[in-house]
Symmetry: C2
Subunit: 328 residues, 2 copies
């Protein structure tokens, strides 16, 4: 018997077809491990082929090749950093100039490393780079939100295999984030508590969707996942916007790397998308919203049903996914 | 300079990166024309390999192989047609049994035909089959909505290449449709007119996004398309739910086939998803919502940016897409 489940935050229904009940081995995605064939603009020594660097982490050496992480503008930006917003209408249609920042975080000089395999220090540095860039970009009053995301593997949309993330600073709050915020605010009005904090409490009580946790973070399979092995990572205490907890990112690096390693082990290094949801710049500190990371392994094709309806058919329950991910 | 555009109905922003300005030939999708290798359960003569037929159109002959269209239950249904809804909660989570109908419309006995190439009479019959099945399914009080969709080509999620559509009757209204309805209702409250009717008027005034039209239907490139060559087909006069207009489907068959032929010509027979948005069973006749068809050619990969943000980067403007589609 299949089951319909509703995500309490976004209000999205998913169909869990428990009868088809797919196990990790049923997906057998193309392995994502063959790396380093051909020229790579993100590799050490090719710094001159990227647009001018915005920032770098290095080991104290002035050698241009001596870096551990670089942030550069995207060579083919979706948005342009110069210009005014000029919001205007054409009849009932609204538009504005495509103003925004589109940056690439080159996470390591080593073409063979991924976020899952790099050193923990390197993974922490990636989060420091995110935090540093967001802190800088939010001074620009044209921007309302910074969307952080990572595509790993060709099937995820990544155009370069060298481990990197992207940051897009936007003059609007993305629809999906705004929906979560609106819903969280409604929940707060009614319950006087944060919906994500309550969700964490409930998951800790039920236990069957908790994959792993440490002092500051928890990783869960959401109750109504869109895709098999969808995973969310949330700070356990209320934090409305992405920032270091107790002045460090070590526990965050630890839990994200742990989850990615587990996913890589049971799903044969699948392509995935990872993204942050956090509070907009104008309401960074609040009591109703709770920042988190969502990881979407790209194992199934998104067909017409999902496109037209905004809801998903998922052949693996989150309880099964949790079991598989916990066992490794 | 790229541009940010907002869809007036769904409130979704898209980034149109006009600088990259992709032409049809830039996509060069895999051609979808090699057909008919191997066994096909939808071909004439293999009727016994599908679940028991729900309905068929035929030419008056009692020969089991004499049919022009068949409707059968999906052999691997996402939902089960038997059972009660049993809506219940688990703490803050809502769920119900996966009750619904999942049917397949086999549009033609001929493996070589597609919706674009079949006879106009056959295309009309497909719409008659949709209408007939919806009319039947809405008598079932457990269902609130029937989602009609079509996946063409492997990259669209189609698991069989033989031309077919699917219908899923659901105990809930899909989120995307509900969002459109909510928005259309708000617009009506404010303007006392249907947002789709007003949109059609405006497009007919501007003309630069109108691909083609006949007496009853119009095909447009939406102002804020998610993907290159996204196309909407709408009845020109106000119709809240999918049904024959002036007791026939000939003009609808005509315009859908025309659009698909145009897309096939300029984009080399790409994979696509096509779906209907219509009013739910409980509010079929209303003044605020307007049924329509959306066609999504699958030319680009959906990457992490879209997954996490709910908004899209589209390299082809709808004005350019309209020009390309009009010229063939």
């Amino acid at each position: 018997m299949s089951e319909l489940r509703k995500d309490p935050i976004i209000g999205r229904w998913v169909i869990l077809s428990t009868e088809r009940g797919k196990r990790p081995s049923d997906f057998a995605p193309p392995s994502n491990t063959k790396r380093g064939l051909g020229f790579c603009p993100f590799c050490s020594g090719n710094e001159h082929t990227t647009p001018n660097e915005i920032m770098r982490f290095h080991s104290g050496n002035s050698d241009p090749k001596d870096w551990t992480l670089r942030v550069v503008p995207n060579k083919f930006p979706a948005l342009n950093v110069e210009g005014e917003l000029e919001r205007r209408s054409e009849g009932m249609f609204g538009k504005m100039n495509g103003v925004g920042a589109h940056e690439v975080i080159i996470e390591t000089p080593d073409h063979q490393q991924t976020f899952a395999t790099m050193s923990k220090k390197a993974a922490e540095d990636v989060f420091w780079a995110f935090y540093s860039r967001i802190s800088d970009l939010k001074k620009d009053k044209r921007f309302k939100y910074a969307h952080l995301f990572k595509n790993e593997g060709v099937a995820s949309g990544a155009s370069l295999e060298h481990s990197h993330s992207q940051l897009i600073a936007l003059p609007i709050v993305p629809k999906r984030v705004q929906e979560e915020i609106d819903s969280a605010r409604k929940y707060y009005d009614f319950m006087e508590s944060c919906i994500f904090c309550d969700l964490i409490d409930q998951e800790l009580f039920f236990k069957n969707r908790v994959i792993t946790q440490n002092d500051n973070f928890i990783a869960i399979s959401p109750f109504a996942p869109r895709v098999p092995f969808e995973t969310w990572i949330l700070p356990k205490r209320h934090e409305s916007a992405f920032q270091p907890i107790d002045k460090d990112f070590s526990q965050l690096a630890d839990i994200v790397q742990t989850i990615l390693k587990k996913i890589n082990t049971i799903l044969n290094v699948p392509p995935y998308n990872l993204f942050f949801h956090t509070s907009p710049f104008t309401e960074e500190q609040n009591i109703y919203y709770h920042w988190h990371i969502e990881i979407i392994p790209r194992l199934t094709k998104r067909a017409g049903f999902e496109w037209g309806s905004g809801f998903y058919i998922n052949p693996t329950t989150p309880e099964d996914a949790t079991k598989f991910l916990t066992e490794v």
